[in-house]
Symmetry: D2
Subunit: 366 residues, 4 copies
Amino acid sequence: MASSWGKHLKISIWGESHSESIGVIVDGLPAGQKIDWEQVLAFMGRRRSSGAATDTARKEADIPEIQSGLLNGRTCGTPICALIRNNNTQSKDYSLFERIARPGHADYSGFLRYDGYNDIRGGGHFSGRLTAPLCFAGALAKLLLAEKGISVCAHIQQVGPIKERRFSLDELNDELAAKLNDSFFPTLEEEKSQQMQEHIAAVRAEGDSVGGVIECAVLGVPGGYGDPLFDSVESQLASLLFSIPAVKGVEFGSGFELSSMRGSQANDVFVLRDGDIMTETNHNGGILGGITTGMPLVFRCAFKPTPSIAREQRTVDFINKEEVTLNIVGRHDPCIVRRALPVVEAAAALVLLDILLSSDKRWDLQ
Amino acid sequence: MASSWGKHLKISIWGESHSESIGVIVDGLPAGQKIDWEQVLAFMGRRRSSGAATDTARKEADIPEIQSGLLNGRTCGTPICALIRNNNTQSKDYSLFERIARPGHADYSGFLRYDGYNDIRGGGHFSGRLTAPLCFAGALAKLLLAEKGISVCAHIQQVGPIKERRFSLDELNDELAAKLNDSFFPTLEEEKSQQMQEHIAAVRAEGDSVGGVIECAVLGVPGGYGDPLFDSVESQLASLLFSIPAVKGVEFGSGFELSSMRGSQANDVFVLRDGDIMTETNHNGGILGGITTGMPLVFRCAFKPTPSIAREQRTVDFINKEEVTLNIVGRHDPCIVRRALPVVEAAAALVLLDILLSSDKRWDLQ
Amino acid sequence: MASSWGKHLKISIWGESHSESIGVIVDGLPAGQKIDWEQVLAFMGRRRSSGAATDTARKEADIPEIQSGLLNGRTCGTPICALIRNNNTQSKDYSLFERIARPGHADYSGFLRYDGYNDIRGGGHFSGRLTAPLCFAGALAKLLLAEKGISVCAHIQQVGPIKERRFSLDELNDELAAKLNDSFFPTLEEEKSQQMQEHIAAVRAEGDSVGGVIECAVLGVPGGYGDPLFDSVESQLASLLFSIPAVKGVEFGSGFELSSMRGSQANDVFVLRDGDIMTETNHNGGILGGITTGMPLVFRCAFKPTPSIAREQRTVDFINKEEVTLNIVGRHDPCIVRRALPVVEAAAALVLLDILLSSDKRWDLQ
Amino acid sequence: MASSWGKHLKISIWGESHSESIGVIVDGLPAGQKIDWEQVLAFMGRRRSSGAATDTARKEADIPEIQSGLLNGRTCGTPICALIRNNNTQSKDYSLFERIARPGHADYSGFLRYDGYNDIRGGGHFSGRLTAPLCFAGALAKLLLAEKGISVCAHIQQVGPIKERRFSLDELNDELAAKLNDSFFPTLEEEKSQQMQEHIAAVRAEGDSVGGVIECAVLGVPGGYGDPLFDSVESQLASLLFSIPAVKGVEFGSGFELSSMRGSQANDVFVLRDGDIMTETNHNGGILGGITTGMPLVFRCAFKPTPSIAREQRTVDFINKEEVTLNIVGRHDPCIVRRALPVVEAAAALVLLDILLSSDKRWDLQ
């Protein structure tokens, strides 16, 4: 049941790291929407390994091959299926990992879940590769949202010990969004981009890995969308964000800092700006009572360090029930954050689009 | 669509703060399960206002009246409906709030969402009262989980500036869980309980409110439950936790701290303890690849300060489109965290039970 | 999981025949819709027993008590909860039915399903009484559809051996719909109404029961709604219709007669009538490829005879595993068809409304 | 939203008649289940055109190419994706059908649904080819059910005017099921098979098409599965059966004949046979109160005649709004019933498997 998501917009993902292919069905997009293929590829390209010191050495072209649902550059209204081949799989002996649990990985929990029958090669269905089809779906969602004047952008707010400031409310506009979307390693404070990349390279050199934080904003969201309780915008966003491997924390607006604040500080004061109702601050991240306020949606995701590290680690052989030591050899990202950026944007775009498509507010407009 | 939740276990909630009643339908509980009524009432009692300085002055008995689905103290297997009357509603003039947005509240976003037709009295469907039926459902879930040896507990880890330590792995056992469940204001560090309560009283005296953090643990969860991707245990828990009003952040295990860590620190080393496979640390909060590992589930929720404060606030009249000042009079919790504790436990119990009931692992046991 | 239905529009039903109450939560109705209470009661009144020879002697007022979601005669946009008390329950000894399977009833299958823990009094959750909350929800749906010019009507096309003609395409208009909606025992051929009622009375006098067929039409449905494959209009209608107790067959348009026809007969020829695209015949019941064509939706439901009859029947004691004879005493409908008519209309209205509310066709209209 | 189905077991289908490929994701199958590839191909082969006089001249190999989820002949527990290439597409000019509605087809309703953007080549997403992936999913379901002693079989009970008897209760056993599964044109009355095939050939020679009825039985289903109300076994089966193109009627047990019967006839008398509780008759088709009784599930589906016929037909040009005549040229099945047989079995198998996998009855067995 893990592979299907959405209310009106439905996405279903398949694949393992070393299976024939991975891919996605995207169902529920309205018919006749123009899909700019260059933009789809550009967006997916942001998730690809650059081969640089920050990324894994496994490089995949990851060109989605459309199987259905698109004709003459427009959506047909029927399910869009995109298939991505697994080309660059390195044949090696994985039998060790059928019984040795790599710390921080899903080997042991997956063994319990699937009674040992899951495909463990390259991480199988748990592989970060499965975020490629998510990005394809997100690319379509971003295009449809852009038609309605909604844009999604993100920056790397933290890598290990190196942090930068959060979005300030007054800088959030489409120009910044475009700039961040075009950047290889997007940060708000220019010098931090270089520092973070150098830190990642240094960590890799030590045979280690490091975590980080991505901050994402959605601009142009009209107020009045979402629902109280179970379909709160926070619930829907968090649910999809936590399906991204390595995400272990999600917070909206000022998030955990709100715990330390007084109501008199945290309450976003409503004001009129050129006749528009806005708030002076955005501690609530554009969501009150689970519903959008018309202010930018702002949230942050915490990523744990990549569990695959080039160091000897203690662990257990869960078949023979004995403690062993393990050396992982392979190609890994020392920090997943840069490549995870478009995945976070994709998740945000998909949730927003689903919320808009599922709304009953248009009933009276018919 | 906001009021229905769950895969196998389905709960549907109704009600507004001043409507005839609030309540819940709980569907999907297996037949023949014993329901200890005393424990249900005791659990719900933890959410009730004590009338103490930490809580609102609005006191409701909140006794659930069973409409269906229980017979002779056992589940029938059919939907259980529980109704809670709204007795202590104070009739007053709410017409002001049809156009004045209380900062931090859902008045304006709700106005946009429902075109001004929502019931605004006492917060309507956005009221924290709606968590009472959630607690009823959670009480049932806790009882069923207890039958399988699974317990849920929580402590108040932070109130404003006052913090205490997180759960340590070696103290997490049923004894601690029972102790926390029985406590009025549960903390791990004994002196912190008093300090936090005093801080809340002081904040109230200043006409202000304050936020906090709840840390929750689920003990006895077997490994191998949950799913990768969209039905990750994190996704399912976060989705329900973010439906609790005022929750603005959720993190698992070491959460946001993982962003600052190296892989060599964050990877939980697998070890054998008396023949059982465990991890030495629990930075991943008992979940790897979205699937339970057999270690305790541990997560934290950040609560924002109660938006209703007894101070003059600037805001707008969104009908007449003008800036105004506002003074909120009424009965409010200066800090919602104590009463939110059982709500967090209820959410955790419901998610866990749904995951267990939805599992296909039992197919072979039939 | 049995009690929840719908995609955008969600209804959840609770209750047993002799529980405290039965009721329904209706979630997903747009805010601000006017609800004419007289029409709601009138619609529900059609389902009530008249006490006449065609109906059961158990008479219930079945006045829905609104718990939430309606204010000043309009929908709030939040869940509407309606509760119906079970007043006229006759206390008697049901212990016999904990082990004796009434033929045609769910006693034995329910025993297996719920391991003997279900509430068997009066049929419990299997009782036809559970269709009262469905009618309440349907009454709301009919009102919203009427606002869009869509009406639902039905007639009794068969009772036992007495049949009348099906709807002819040219008579289907709002006038006929109104006439059928107002009739106590609606038929198209005037004399058949009397004949059918006399037949039912005669069957009752023999201590027996009889089945029948209801034909239903939905007028004013715009073309282009619904979906191919799993969300075909037929799939969605049939799914809800088969949840009505005693329905054992559903057919659309010419239904089973299409099996005997040639394509050259069955193909509905498209024609222009005053510039509108219509079909000369309606063998497909207003649905092609799972999608509405703009022609009236027409379908029929087969009802089996009420299983409770006043005759000695052979059966088994499933606890003691022995064959026994059984005499059912009680108040039963000799033919459920008259009272099932509004239930069928309710189901049709709910499905249509859900399809309209779930449509992505309005995306471009925003 | 049309392409996703299921509760625990989820299937998502993609494709158009002339798109790159069609296919299906099957998610929710327990891990470690053996998949006999020969049986999968054999089952799918029954749906393939034989090229005989009863079938279309378009022959496709329809070999599913596994993309994920199967390893070493067993399910991994993760989504299984199967892709079927569209090889035998005949390039021709379809521009006519962008404005001419073929009677009985979804051209016009599809045009309205998708604002003219759907892929109309070869029927697009409405094509009967989409039942090939459904058969693949059904093949897996049949294998899993067979492991539990459950078998599915069907016969052609009617083709146009030629009918044969329905299943009699005493002949329903695994031997008959195997025989029917192995037959090219399965009937119960041996001579009817030949007569029906000759009738189809004759109809084709006249440039016409003809409808029919398939009767299906599921043997070995344990009692106590399914639910009352919305998840009745009838609701779940009918919902999927009506997603098969051309199905316009579904009835269970004695179906529409129950409308003419008395309760004293229709009530299936419970008896003991060798200590087992059974019913003497099976008018209810193995389902009471929406729940299985332990008797065979029996139901029938009415198929309309193939709308594509080789005769001149009147219709409209819906773009230019004028009445026109139409001659369809192409390769079509004069009667779809033979090839639809495995599709009906697939639907039955998928529903049953989903019901078993979704059951909460195993909770106590854990």
